[in-house]
């Protein structure tokens, strides 16, 4: 278990970051990471060869997806809890924080599958191949989702997004 501690512990901050960006709520995200670590401990000797990081992200992602499925009635468009709000700094820092908050709330508007690809590739630095493994999809699908995620986020940033489009609550299927 010593090698596990050495290999897994340094990755916990990144797992938290991914979980938080995916489920948006701090307490939920940390619960997911805790579940992920418990599973990793119990399956350490059963894991296949390959990158430990991709393996951990796979466990975490599957837990998050299960949680999504269980709470399908949740509202969308909730911004991500980035940092403590009660922590006021100088004006420049404040302005930067607003900018961060803004981009995260725009990220939160992306469909989950696109958001996951963008986060794994652009923030967590997983290779396209590892991202495909984590999400259990072909690399070609990773590339097309990445492309759609970037285009979509850009539209959000430029304010040209059509907000009546597909991505709002799927329960109401019009027409």
């Amino acid at each position: 278990m010593k090698d596990m501690l050495l290999q897994v512990e340094p990755l916990i901050p990144a797992l938290r970051r991914y979980a938080r960006a995916l489920v948006r709520n701090r307490a939920n995200a940390d619960d997911l990471v805790q579940d992920c670590l418990e599973r990793a401990v119990s399956r350490w000797y059963q894991r296949r060869d390959g990158d430990v990081r991709a393996w951990l992200f796979t466990i975490l992602h599957n837990l998050a997806v299960n949680q999504f499925r269980q709470s399908s009635a949740r509202g969308r468009h909730v911004p991500i809890d980035a940092t403590n709000e009660d922590n006021f700094g100088e004006a420049a820092v404040q302005e930067q924080r607003l900018m961060y908050k803004d981009v995260l709330s725009k990220l939160a508007r992306l469909p989950e599958d696109q958001r996951a690809v963008l986060l794994l590739v652009a923030v967590e630095d997983l290779s396209y191949a590892d991202t495909a493994k984590v999400l259990n999809i072909p690399v070609g699908t990773v590339m097309s989702r990445l492309s759609r995620a970037r285009e979509r986020l850009q539209q959000e940033i430029e304010g040209t997004v059509d907000n009546t489009a597909s991505n709002v609550v799927p329960i109401r299927s019009e027409k």
């Binding site: 938080r20 670590l37 492309s147």
Partner: protein, 257 residues
């Protein structure tokens, strides 16, 4: 010069900086000639930087106690899992005649990792030692390949003990499946054709270090011990006083890896 055409995938790989240097240069040259595409690519790169900066503080927050990995490992070692109890129940059902012995092992408050290890060695011995056709999967003549294979699967260097001084020649070995993951099994025989088995695998949580203890199940017996998280068990169809010096020899050699 014939350049491969630039694809959408290339543009994303350019943003993510995962292209080979030559391709990176080709894409950069292309972007120089196509300002519209360059504008999009720059926007994607800016997004990437912004997202990373916005999410970076999360990774810098101090970890809450519930994400303390050392504690998670410790808690798991202490608490018998449902799976482990289920295992114990299965064992009770399957062992039958040897029930008394199994109960002792499985229902002790902290189930001993060595007991499990010795059981695995005994089971391997019972299955493979009587096999006259293919007792081992990789023969001693390919011992280099054998060592490479089991070391890969056990994720640690494994050395095949040399027991010639004890009168046993290596026949070969194989990987065997256990509840605790893969284990390496080595089989030896002497001039009379009597066989012994050495089984080794990483110990999961219990008995990371444990002194050599005698283990027996029916008429197969031997010894088990663990050093630095790696467990060993030597079993055979022979008296303990005969097997103990051989087990000592295995332990001595394993410690010099």
């Amino acid at each position: 010069m014939n350049h491969r055409p630039i694809t959408e995938d290339d543009l994303h790989a350019y943003v993510d900086r995962v292209l080979e240097p030559e391709r990176q240069a080709e894409v950069a040259a292309y972007l120089g000639d196509h300002p519209d595409v360059a504008k999009r690519v720059t926007a994607f790169a800016d997004q990437r930087d912004l997202l990373r900066a916005a999410l970076a503080p999360i990774a810098e927050e101090p970890l809450p106690p519930k994400l303390n990995l050392a504690r998670i490992i410790e808690n798991r070692a202490r608490r018998p899992s449902v799976a482990r109890w289920a295992m114990a129940a299965m064992l009770l059902l399957s062992i039958g005649g040897l029930g008394g012995w199994a109960v002792r092992g499985a229902w002790q408050p902290s189930p001993s990792g060595l007991v499990a290890l010795a059981q695995e060695a005994t089971a391997s011995y019972k299955v493979y030692a009587p096999d006259r056709i293919r007792p081992v999967e990789v023969r001693a003549s390919d011992s280099g390949q054998l060592v490479q294979w089991v070391s890969d699967r056990l994720r640690r260097p494994v050395k095949v003990p040399d027991l010639t001084t004890s009168g046993y020649r290596l026949m070969g070995g194989r990987l065997v499946a256990t509840e605790h993951g893969p284990a390496a099994m080595f089989m030896y025989d002497d001039d009379h054709g009597s066989r012994i088995v050495v089984l080794t695998r990483p110990m999961s949580s219990a008995d990371q270090n444990a002194p050599m203890t005698p283990q027996s199940q029916g008429d197969v017996g031997g010894f088990a011990w663990a050093d630095d998280g790696v467990g060993y068990s030597l079993v055979g169809h022979a008296a303990p006083e005969f097997l103990r010096p051989i087990a000592n020899e295995v332990r001595k050699q394993a410690r010099t890896i």
